[in-house]
C-alpha cells in the first residue's frame, strides 16, 4: 500500500498521472480517478482563474490523514492525491485523486470519500478572479455546520 500526496504550484496532466499510477498498480484490478477542472462560470460571472492558498505542512498532513483513514476503511492498494495551489486558469486541472483496489466498489467509494474531504475540509483558501475583481470564496452553509472539524488541543 502506497499513499502519495502532492500539493504544488506545478500544472499537471490528469491523463499522465493516471498512466503512471496504472503502471505501478497493475496488480490491482480496478482504478478510479477523479479530476477537477476550474470552471469558467460561477454565479453567472465569467471566471478567468482561481488562486489557492495552502498552509503547509498542515494542508498536506490533513490530506494524508484522510488517505490513511480511507486505507483503514477500504481494501486499497494505492492512493495518489495531487492538488494545485497558486494561480490556476479556467479549464486547468486543479485536483486529481486516484485509488486502486481489487474491489471496484472500494475504489469508487474511497475516491469519493477523499474528494469530500478535499472539497470541504482540506486546508485551502480559494479566490475567484473575475472581470469584476477578485473574490474569496466563502464556505457554504454545509461547510460551517460541522464547524468543530479541526481538533483543538
Amino acid at each position: 500500500m502506497t499513499i502519495e500526496v502532492i500539493v504544488s504550484k506545478d500544472p499537471f496532466d490528469a491523463g499522465l498521472l493516471l498512466s503512471e499510477f496504472t503502471k505501478t498498480a497493475d496488480q490491482a484490478g480496478g482504478i478510479v480517478s477523479f479530476s477537477g477542472q476550474v470552471r469558467p462560470k460561477a454565479n453567472q460571472e465569467d471566471v478567468s482563474a482561481l488562486v489557492l492558498q495552502s498552509y503547509e505542512p498542515m494542508t498536506t498532513e490533513g490530506i494524508r490523514a484522510r488517505a490513511v483513514d480511507a486505507q483503514k476503511r477500504w481494501p486499497l492498494d494505492q492512493i495518489l492525491i495531487r492538488h494545485r495551489i497558486g494561480l490556476i486558469s479556467t479549464g486547468e486541472t486543479i485536483v486529481f485523486v486516484a485509488t486502486a483496489s481489487a474491489h471496484r466498489r472500494a475504489a469508487f467509494e474511497a475516491a469519493d470519500f477523499l474528494m469530500d474531504y478535499l472539497k470541504t475540509e482540506a486546508v485551502f483558501w480559494k479566490k475567484e478572479v473575475t472581470e469584476s475583481g477578485e473574490h474569496w470564496i466563502e464556505p457554504r452553509k454545509e461547510d460551517y455546520q460541522d464547524g468543530e472539524r479541526w481538533n483543538v488541543d
Binding site: 498552509y55 498542515m58 479566490k127 474569496w136 466563502e138 457554504r140 460551517y144 479541526w150
Partner: protein, 82 residues
C-alpha cells in the same frame, strides 16, 4: 521575533500575507492577540470570529493558549466552499 500569517480574506484586511513582529507584554495569549490584531487593522471584529482559527507553529490552539515561545502564528479563516 514572531511571524504572523494571514490567510484567505484576512490577507486582504491586513494588506499582507505575513509580517515579522514583536508582541507587547499586554498580549500574553491568543485571546488578547485576536483583540490586539483586530484593533491594529481596524478589522471590525473579523479576528474575533470563532470561525477564524489560530495555529501556533502549525497546530490549532484554543484562545487561552499562552504565546510565550511561539515562532509562527497563523490566522485561518474557514475553509471549504467547494
Amino acid at each position: 521575533m514572531l511571524e504572523l500569517l494571514y490567510f484567505g480574506k484576512l490577507g486582504d484586511v491586513t494588506g499582507k500575507t505575513s509580517e515579522q513582529i514583536e508582541l507587547p507584554p499586554s498580549v500574553p495569549d491568543l485571546n488578547s492577540l485576536r483583540q490586539w490584531i483586530d484593533e491594529r487593522f481596524e478589522a471590525d471584529g473579523i479576528f474575533l470570529e470563532p470561525t477564524v482559527r489560530i495555529a501556533v507553529d502549525n497546530e490549532i490552539k484554543s484562545n487561552d493558549f499562552k504565546i510565550s515561545n511561539a515562532r509562527e502564528i497563523a490566522f485561518l479563516p474557514p475553509v471549504g466552499g467547494g
